[in-house]
Point group: C5
Chain length 103, copies 5
C-alpha cells in the first residue's frame, strides 16, 4: 500500500456498467521528504481510486493496488485496480509524528 | 486507475485467437502539471488498451491495469492487462475544474 | 499492453519443467518519440516474453504482462509474466501512420 | 520480493472492516549501494505493509507485493498488496556480508 | 520476465511458516547496454527471488514476477512475488551473442 492525498474527483458518464454509483477520487501518492525526514511530500504522480469508506478531499488515505483492490465488500466484481482502504490518522517515522493534517 | 488520452490505434492481424474483433487503442497516461496544478499533461508513456465502451481519439479515459482488466463482460477471458473503463467528463482537483476537452 | 520490438532470443537449458519447448524472445518496449510524435523509439528497457504466434526478430509486437500472460491456450499453466499477443501491422497516432517497419 | 527497512507505523481508524486489528508498518525499500557494493541504501520510496510476524522499527524485512501478499494465513481475505514475510538476519552479496544491523 | 544476475543470498530466520526451507537469492536485473548494444549491464536495482532449480551466485537467470511466481510445483502456496524459472545459457540480440558468462 502507499499513502496518498485525496486532491480531487472524476466524473465519467459513459463507462463499464458495473462502475455505476462508485465514487472515483483523484489521489496523489506521497513519500517521506528524504532530507529532513519530517514531512510527507507528493511524488507528483496522479492516480484514480475507488472510495468506499467516505474519504474526502485533503484526506490522507491508504491505497491498495492490483487485484487486492477487489477484496472489499463493495468492489468484488469491479474492473478496478486501486481502492482506498483507510483514512490515515497518524504516521510515525523515526519515532517522530509526521503530519497528515488536512490543510 | 489512471487518466489517459486516447491518441491512436493499433492494427495487429496475426494475434492470439481470442483477441479477434477487439479494438486496441493507443493511450498516453496524463498527470497533474506539478507547478500550476491547473491542467493535465502527458507523462510521455505509451500504452495500448482494449476499448469496449466506444472511446475515440482525443478522449480522456480511465484505464484499469492488471488482472482487473478482465473484469468487464467483454474481456473476461482475454490475455489483456489494460482496459478502458470510462470516458472522463470532468476532473476537479484542488476545487478547480481541470480541462479534459477533446482538442 | 505495450508495443515492443523483438530484438533477440534467450536459451535456458536448466529451467522449470513446464517451460520446456516455449520460445523466449528478447523484447524492448517502445514509446512515442515525445517531440515530433512521428516515430516510435526504444525505452531502453529489456524484457523477455514467451511467443506463441510466430513472432520473429525485428517484429513490433504487443506484450501483455502479469497474470493475463497466462490467458492464452499455450500459456495457461506457465510461470510467466509476459507474452506476445499480436504482431503489430499498423500504428496510427495523431491521425498519422507511425512506422513499425522491420528494419 | 525486496529488502526494506521498517521506519515507522500508520494508524487508520476509519477503514475497510476486514483491516481491523492488522498492524500497518512504514517500510522503505533498500538497494545495494552501486559504487562500493558493500552496504544497503534507501531507494527513497515509502510503502505501507502489513506485518504478521512481529517486525519492529529498524528491522530489515522482506516484502512481498501484489496478490501474493494474501498468501499468508492471516492475510488471505484482506484488501492488501504488501506484506512482510520475513525479518532479514543476513545478506551476502559478492561473497561479502552486507550489514542489516538495526541502528 | 527479465534477465538478472544472482549476486547473493538472504537469511531470514523469523518468517512466515510456509517459507521455511526455500532458498532466497539476491538478484539484480540487467538490461542491454544502450550505446554499443553488445553487453548486458546492471539496472542498479536489487530484488530477492526464490530459487527452485539450483541457481548459484554469478548465474544469469530468468525472473518471473507477480502471481505467476506461484506457478511452479514448489511455490504454489507461497507468499512470494518473484521466482527464478531458468538459468540463462545464451542471449542473442541484434544477431550477435551477448555474454552471460559467470565472471
Amino acid at each position: 500500500m502507499f499513502i496518498a492525498k485525496v486532491t480531487g474527483s472524476v466524473v465519467a458518464t459513459q463507462k463499464v456498467g458495473s462502475m455505476t454509483g462508485h465514487k472515483l477520487l483523484v489521489v496523489e501518492p506521497y513519500r517521506l521528504e528524504p532530507d529532513q525526514r519530517q514531512s510527507l511530500v507528493t511524488t507528483g504522480r496522479t492516480f484514480i481510486a475507488v472510495d468506499t469508506i467516505g474519504a474526502g478531499e485533503n484526506d490522507f488515505v491508504l491505497i491498495t493496488q492490483g487485484s487486492s483492490a477487489r477484496l472489499t465488500p463493495e468492489t468484488k466484481t469491479l474492473p478496478i485496480d486501486a481502492v482506498i482502504i483507510g483514512i490515515v490518522d497518524k504516521v510515525h517515522i523515526d519515532d517522530r509524528e509526521v503530519s497528515v493534517d488536512r490543510d
